[in-house]
């Protein structure tokens, strides 16, 4: 006989508090800042009161011309476009290199040279090539994001076992079908960490590129423009936006992908 304990609401609240216990640290630090700055103990124009930052964040998102909201949309657009292309490019190249040693030995020296390059050094060169600033930002994101994805796909494609390849080949299916049914899923099961790191790279690249290229709207541009007007709370609001969005993408999207794939398949305990 098993006794099933009904989950009562108090128990649930406690687990929730427990899960987000690290948030308390943030709340405490922000409160201290609020007290110190609000009471005038610390008076430095570069350090705004948290309430001023939240107010600026609220205004930017929900009031007037929704400047921060629109900037965020544009940044996310560039990020997702660039990241999408980076994933495609990195995965295709990585899987090809993982399955064909000759191809790997051809592309590897180029990749090895590329890895230590910070994404932003490509911006001046790209600006010379391309007249469209938008393209420069997106390309910077791609150049930055594809490397981890490539390395993950390479490793994933290499870890498909010889026997799995034999079983795959035994039924006389076309190369394309073999790739779709075995190689891509086989590589994917090892790729989620690299997809995650690639997203992190892409985030950094998009903000850096926006700040340097200064084109259109974007969180990076908002932060930089706010500096010109010495609108310090807006600068912090932009930084907060980046941090919260980055955290949300990393903590919501990838665990969801894991739950739908490798966790469901029992490959992650």
């Amino acid at each position: 006989m098993t006794t099933i304990i009904a989950p009562d609401s108090r128990h649930r609240l406690l687990t929730l508090l427990d899960r987000y216990s690290s948030l308390w640290v943030v709340v405490v630090v922000v409160s201290i800042f609020q007290v110190v700055v609000g009471t005038g103990l610390l008076h430095n124009p570069a350090i705004p009161a948290p309430t001023a930052v939240f107010a600026s964040l609220y205004r930017g998102l929900f009031e007037g011309q929704h400047l921060l909201f629109l900037a965020t949309l544009d940044t996310l657009g560039r990020l997702l476009l660039g990241y999408g292309v980076a994933v495609l490019f990195g995965a295709v190249l990585g899987i090809l290199a993982g399955r064909h040693p000759d191809f790997a030995s051809t592309v590897h020296p180029i990749v090895a040279l590329w890895i230590p390059l910070p994404a932003i050094v490509t911006i001046p060169v790209l600006s010379l090539w391309l007249s469209a600033d938008e393209a420069v930002i997106v390309l910077t994101v791609i150049f930055s994001g594809w490397i981890p994805v490539y390395l993950g796909a390479l490793q994933g494609a290499r870890s498909i076992s010889a026997h799995q390849l034999w079983v795959m080949r035994a039924y006389g299916a076309s190369e394309w079908r073999q790739v779709c049914k075995v190689i891509i899923p086989g590589a994917f099961v090892h790729m989620i960490p690299s997809l995650r790191v690639g997203m992190g790279y892409a985030w950094r690249a998009v903000i850096a590129a926006e700040i340097i290229v200064q084109h259109g709207r974007g969180i990076g541009i908002t932060i930089f423009a706010a500096r010109e007007f010495f609108d310090v709370p807006t600068m912090y609001a932009g930084v907060l936006m980046i941090a919260v969005l980055g955290l949300a993408l990393d903590h919501l999207v990838f665990p969801a992908v894991e739950r739908a794939t490798i966790k469901r398949w029992g490959l992650l305990t």
Binding site: S161, H163, Q164, W166, V167, M168, R169, A170, Y171, G172, A173, R177, Q178, K181, V182, P185, G186, F188, V189, T261, R264, W265, G266, L267
Partner: protein, 284 residues
């Protein structure tokens, strides 16, 4: 035990199967489907290591619907022989014919089952069983689903159709792999130490189930093992391999009906006989 009673259960055909006189004792009306003649396999040494002679001149015939077991010590080259029949590796010398044709690569006419199951973890049990059918592209969706479901039942996997392989025991995983192989209804089923990684109970049940499948199916089985008891419970004929470089030192026919009771007096006799044979073999 007299030589006469032994004779009913097994026939020692020849100690070194010659190409001119293959298996005169077996019915000559049943066509040969696999013919190996003076097959040698040499693995080139990597990074300056000397080449390894894995198989040194083996010849044998396998007849239609025969259950042949390659029995030999670990690393003796019996698996390599099986892989060559599967078309995954090629002999260095000699000829290996499948239905009279040289083997040019793997094909859906030969299903293979490995010791390590080789399931695709992202596919359910049903999806794994349907894998071969999907790859072959000559079945409709309905046919694939119907056949896969049939083999789910057939291998005793009912209730697990939508489970993922990671949740299954070793025995269940191997059932899935066998079902995947059976689903495309191949002419040959090649089994490479399929029960070596299983616990004794799962192994015992699978031996019985494979026996039943072999009885009802119109399929030629080639089964690799280093376990004498597995060999004698399953085989119509046992080819005994020497340690590397592989040669075939014995060819023994076992004529007891399957499934065979592991502890029947007859099988224990065969077991004793096999052990004495292998014990007195040239490489002992």
């Amino acid at each position: 035990m007299t030589a006469g009673t032994m004779e009913q259960k097994m026939q020692r055909t020849s100690s070194d199967v010659p190409s001119e006189k293959p298996d005169a004792e077996l019915s000559t009306t049943v066509p040969k489907v696999i013919e190996a003649r003076h097959v040698r396999k040499i693995f080139a040494g990597a990074h300056g290591e000397p080449a390894v002679v894995a198989i040194d001149d083996i010849s044998f015939d396998i007849r239609r619907c025969e259950f042949t077991v390659f029995l030999g010590p670990s690393g003796c080259g019996k698996s390599t022989t099986l892989h060559m029949i599967g078309g995954f590796e090629q002999q260095t010398e000699g000829s290996l014919l499948l239905n009279g044709q040289a083997i040019r690569g793997p094909g859906p006419d030969r299903g293979i089952v490995f010791q390590d199951f080789v399931l695709f973890p992202w596919r359910t049990v049903l999806g794994n069983i349907a894998f071969g059918l999907e790859m072959m592209r000559c079945f409709t969706r309905a046919e694939i689903s119907e056949r896969a479901r049939h083999y789910v039942e057939h291998l005793g996997l009912a209730g697990f159709a939508n489970a993922y392989p990671s949740t299954l025991s070793g025995g269940m995983k191997q059932r899935v792999a066998i079902a995947r192989t059976l689903a495309v209804q191949p002419e040959f089923i090649l089994m490479d130490e399929p029960f070596a990684a299983l616990d004794a109970q799962a192994r015992d049940r699978l031996i019985v189930d494979v026996s039943l499948i072999a009885n009802e199916q119109n399929t030629t089985f080639v089964f690799v093992t280093h376990d004498i008891r597995e060999a004698i419970r399953l085989a119509d004929r046992i080819l005994v391999f020497s340690p590397r470089p592989a040669r075939i030192v014995e060819s023994i026919a076992v004529t007891l009906p399957r499934p065979r009771d592991a502890y029947s007096a007859e099988l224990l006799d065969v077991d004793r006989y096999m052990r004495s044979l292998i014990g007195t073999g040239p490489e002992g």
